[in-house]
């Protein structure tokens, strides 16, 4: 775990989430620091998405504390620092009247005042985000006409347009083919290394990206933090999390 940064981006302490007495998350404590590249893994229903939604203020914990940049969630105002790509973001409403540029422009909305037209900076940032995600040539196309992989890149371009310091992605590869997935992971790694964007994402493909990620959070009601991703595939945690499926993840890594 990096020690050189004093204030973590996210500081979670003793987080519990048990709506209607049903335990979803129990005693979660973790920290996320600037520049990290973290994968969240765990079985379906283990609470991965719930954890992310609580970090973003979309769900309220039963108890425990979440701080963002040292501030309590309710006091945090600088949401533009956080880019969020939700689960199934690429499965868009095909009839929604939006071009690729319309979608990426949304990333600048919170930076503009009422009545204001897009400034030169807005236009530059939107174009820059589209170039990074290789969707500039699609800017006038309707979002509903794109493939799953293209839509996924558009959604990340939207998140990048606000110049976030941390990018949070919830199973971004849902509905995306294998070729696009490999390309996608290469792009994530590039954003982390070259743009110093902190990346936190939920995945089931940890075997594919084990060489790039810094840490792995395994979430199955409780959290296990693995500081060495290469160890997580061989350690007992995976068997505890996935049961007999653990070896599949391990084999998956070797196939790649």
């Amino acid at each position: 775990m990096p020690l050189k940064f004093k204030v973590p981006i996210f500081d979670v302490k003793n987080l519990n989430f048990a709506p209607s007495s049903q335990k979803i998350l129990t005693n979660i404590s973790l920290e996320i620091f600037n520049g990290e590249y973290i994968a969240i893994i765990g079985p379906n229903g283990g609470g991965k998405t719930t954890l992310i939604r609580m970090l973003l203020g979309l769900e309220t914990p039963t108890n425990g504390e979440i701080k963002i940049y040292g501030k309590k969630l309710k006091d945090f105002k600088e949401w533009r620092k956080i880019g969020y790509v939700p689960q199934r973001a690429s499965l868009v409403d095909e009839n929604f009247p939006a071009t690729v540029q319309d979608i990426v422009n949304m990333g600048r909305v919170s930076k503009r005042s009422i009545f204001s037209r897009a400034s030169r900076e807005d236009k530059i940032e939107v174009e820059d985000a589209m170039i990074k995600m290789d969707v500039l040539n699609l800017k006038d196309q309707m979002i509903g006409t794109l493939s799953g992989g293209q839509r996924q890149r558009v959604m990340i371009a939207r998140a990048l347009a606000s110049k976030p310091e941390i990018l949070i992605l919830d199973e971004p590869n849902t509905g995306v083919d294998m070729v696009s997935q490999k390309r996608f992971y290469a792009l994530l790694s590039k954003l982390n290394k070259e743009e110093n964007i902190t990346i936190l994402f939920i995945t089931h493909d940890v075997g594919v990206i084990v060489d790039d990620i810094g840490r792995v959070f395994t979430i199955n009601q409780r959290a296990t933090i693995c500081n060495n991703p290469k160890e997580v595939l061989g350690c007992g945690d995976m068997t505890a999390l996935y049961g007999t499926q653990a070896h599949l993840l391990h084999n998956h890594k070797h196939e790649h």
Binding site: L56, G57, L58, K77, E78, W79, R80, I82, Y84, V85, P86, A89, N95, F96, P97, A98, T99, Q101, D102, I103, N105, M106, G107, V109, S110, R112, I114, F115, M142, G144, R158, S162
Partner: protein
């Protein structure tokens, strides 16, 4: 056309119609994209409760309609955001509930007369100068609010949660949108009627969506369709002595069908 416009009442009718078409189509774009199409019908029926109270109690029916429609819109938004209820179910409950309350008030007050009938089906040809001024003032305020927050409302319509995590004031803007829509509907029912305003608010946008263009162009096409329908509907109703509100709605449905056929895959 020139002969038709030589009458004062027709000039007022056209002006009112154009104002209502503009307000209904622009606000309707956001309502349709948020999957709130039935809200216009529900709020129109809520506004009818206000009209009934106004007629029975002797208050200005328009102001009562605005007040009750706003209260109803806030109730809808509160129920939607605070309880795990389906949005369309909430709208259906309030729609039938409002109509029931309106009928009971009117029957108790014995005021089921031509005045209420004109609010049900609209009476565009009896629009007064005072009505025009009221629509202009509150319509302009509503339109300015919609335009001021159009980029935020568009973002919310696309993905409410991502908009929230981007720092957009989602709760405030949702309440603002339903309030503005409530005002526009209450202003409109005198002109096109509570049973027909929903059509003018929803169908132009649904027709425009068939052209599969971006947000700005969709809004523009919706506006053009609404304006054309109002002008064409009023002209037809004048020359063939047909009810104006119903003729306008049939015109907009006709354009919707053409849009559907032209853009068939």
């Amino acid at each position: 056309m020139i002969e038709m416009l030589s009458y004062d009442f027709m000039q007022r009718a056209f002006l009112a119609g154009i104002l209502i078409a503009t307000l209904a189509s622009i606000s309707g774009t956001f309502i349709v994209l948020k999957r709130y199409s039935m809200m216009s019908e529900t709020l129109a029926h809520s506004a009818l409760v206000g009209v009934a109270v106004g007629l029975v109690a002797g208050f200005n029916p328009l102001w009562m309609a605005v007040s009750v429609a706003i209260l109803s819109s806030w109730t809808i938004e509160y129920l939607r955001s605070s309880f795990s209820l389906y949005s369309d179910a909430i709208l259906a409950i309030l729609l039938s509930g409002s109509l029931a309350v309106a009928i009971i008030i009117v029957s108790l007050g014995g005021a089921f007369n031509n005045s209420l009938f004109s609010y049900l089906f609209g009476s565009i040809l009896s629009v007064s100068s005072e009505d025009i001024v009221t629509i202009m003032i509150f319509g302009t305020i509503s339109l300015l609010l919609l335009l001021a927050f159009s980029k935020e409302l568009y973002f919310i319509a696309y993905d409410e949660e991502v908009a929230k995590t981007s720092g957009v004031k989602v709760k405030f803007l949702n309440y603002l949108l339903v309030t503005v829509v409530a005002i526009i509907i209450a202003l409109s029912i005198r002109v096109v009627g509570s049973l027909l305003i929903g059509a003018l608010m929803v169908i132009p946008t649904v027709a425009a969506l068939q052209y599969k263009v971006g947000f700005f162009k969709t809004g523009l096409i919706s506006l053009v369709i609404a304006l054309f329908s109002v002008v064409a509907g009023m002209t037809v109703s004048f020359y063939f002595s047909l009810p104006s509100g119903a003729t306008i709605v049939l015109c907009v449905i006709f354009i919707f069908v053409i849009s559907l056929v032209v853009n068939k895959k």
